[in-house]
């Protein structure tokens, strides 16, 4: 029970301090992978399933929660990632004018830029966790996926499936 509560509080904190569905990735990775609760492979699996599944991208956390503690873990992750964004409902009622101030704009911009830097670092480490052990084709897949996603011309699910098929063809 204590570990479930700890998992909930961790995911709640990571979601509350991140911008966007994937914004919590660096935080979750630091909290859960670094402590050995999950592996990087499980994070990748969760990210891929999050892209292939329905609903918002941020549901990759639910996949990760399932891998940690089954359906209970998934439920914990669902609640933890759903609560922080809802702060906007009362916030827009009581602090609508503050949300429109340049000072708040600066806060959001600062957090967004920092999140971008953290995400870039996380992305690079997922492509090549150990540069010496990374195959050329994996670097190629990473570069192609980045380009296709940036351009937005291909459905993200197809990018994941394409990477998986290339992996099946080249990794064996």
């Amino acid at each position: 029970m204590t570990s479930d509560l700890a998992l909930f509080l961790t995911l709640l904190k990571d979601s509350a301090l991140a911008l966007g569905g994937l914004g919590s990735l660096p935080l979750v990775r630091q909290d859960l992978v670094a402590t050995g609760l999950v592996t990087d492979a499980q994070v990748v699996q969760a990210l891929a399933i999050g892209r292939l599944s329905t609903g918002p991208n941020g549901l990759w956390i639910v996949s990760l929660g399932y891998q940690i503690d089954g359906w209970l873990g998934a439920a914990i992750a669902l609640v933890a990632c759903s609560l922080p964004p809802l702060v906007m409902v009362p916030a827009t009622i009581v602090g609508r004018r503050f949300l429109m101030t340049p000072a708040f704009a600066g806060i959001v911009r600062g957090a967004a830029l920092a999140t971008a830097g953290l995400l870039a670092s996380t992305g690079v480490s997922l492509i090549a966790p150990d540069i010496a052990a990374t195959a050329w084709w994996q670097l190629g897949i990473g570069a192609a996926a980045a380009g296709l996603t940036y351009e937005g011309r291909l459905h993200p699910g197809l990018v994941v499936v394409g990477g998986a098929l290339l992996g099946v063809g080249l990794a064996r």
Partner: protein, 306 residues
């Protein structure tokens, strides 16, 4: 009710809002110039690409075709005409004669005809469940479906109100689409609308996600699955990297200020890559730094005039 002078928006403005495309979501006189402390009309702020939010948020990618389709609304559907012809079920036109105009200004729904309506709540739940189960890939596809159902099919909110909520949701922590669902739900049916909208979108999608995870778990140890993972890892890494670049593209300012923005990104990248410092510390520090140094570089009205 629609002609309520307190609200200041007439019935014909709802039927034909001054929204033609994503390039011009509200009229020029609605521009809010926060940097100069002038508010032309706080009740109808300019919210295309987040201008009214002090420029904190731009559209994810205004040139992205999918997002443009999602945010651009050619016109409000002729709901009243359809209702008059009996072509639309009463459940699908709950607000046409009262609620959303006031809700648009207050940020909350006072839809008296909507609250407590089992028929309406059921319809609302059905719409959000459809969004949660039919949008694959998240992001723009989910946004597109939300807009199609909430604005076009059911006309629970106006295009303008949808765009405002979308811009506000970009300021939220965590998953922006959850914030959008909550804001729209609140606008449509108060706190019950929030619960129904968020749960309707998230719970079925979460079940699908967990089921997919369970299915993958049964084959995860197979050599074929491991080979697939070897390809999926760099693919997801590349997508994460691209997302970071997109965030920078959305957020960065212009002129010399872009150098400051780039330095913040580079510093965050370097800290996580080369040190063991806490990511949370990085984000909080950047947010505090941002409140002082990362505001807009010039007034929105001048930007708009470019």
């Amino acid at each position: 009710m629609l002609g309520n002078p307190e609200v200041g928006l007439r019935r014909e403005e709802l039927a034909h809002p001054p929204v033609a495309s994503g390039e011009q979501l509200v009229r020029p006189e609605d521009i809010v110039d926060l940097d100069r402390g002038r508010r032309a009309d706080m009740r109808r702020p300019r919210l295309e690409d987040g201008e009214a939010l002090g420029g904190a948020v731009r559209a994810h990618d205004r040139h992205h075709p999918a997002l443009r389709r999602a945010l651009d609304g050619a016109h409000e559907p002729a709901i009243e005409d359809a209702a008059a012809r009996g072509a639309v079920h009463p459940c699908e036109t709950p607000h046409v004669h009262d609620a959303p105009i006031h809700a648009w200004h207050t940020g909350r729904s006072d839809a008296s005809g909507w609250h407590g309506s089992v028929c309406g709540m059921r319809e609302l739940a059905r719409a959000w469940i459809a969004i949660g189960t039919q949008s694959v890939g998240g992001g723009t596809s989910t946004l597109f479906l939300i807009r199609r159902l909430v604005v076009e099919r059911h006309a629970w909110v106006t295009v303008r109100a949808f765009t405002e909520d979308w811009a506000l949701s970009q300021l939220s922590p965590g998953i922006h689409l959850v914030a959008l669902a909550g804001l729209l739900g609140d606008r449509i049916a108060g706190w019950r609308g929030v619960v129904i909208s968020v749960a309707g979108m998230m719970v079925p999608a979460a079940i699908v996600t967990a089921a997919l995870t369970a299915a993958y778990g049964t084959v995860a140890d197979q050599p074929l699955a491991r080979a697939a993972l070897a390809g999926m890892a760099p693919a997801t890494g590349g997508m994460t990297l691209a997302l970071a670049l997109i965030m920078v593209r959305e957020t960065r300012r212009h002129g010399r200020a872009v150098i400051v923005d780039a330095l913040v990104v580079a510093a965050a990248f370097a800290i996580l890559t080369f040190t063991r410092a806490s990511s949370i510390l990085v984000i909080v520090s950047a947010a505090l730094l941002g409140s002082a140094f990362l505001r807009r570089e010039r007034p929105t009205s001048e930007r708009a005039a470019e």
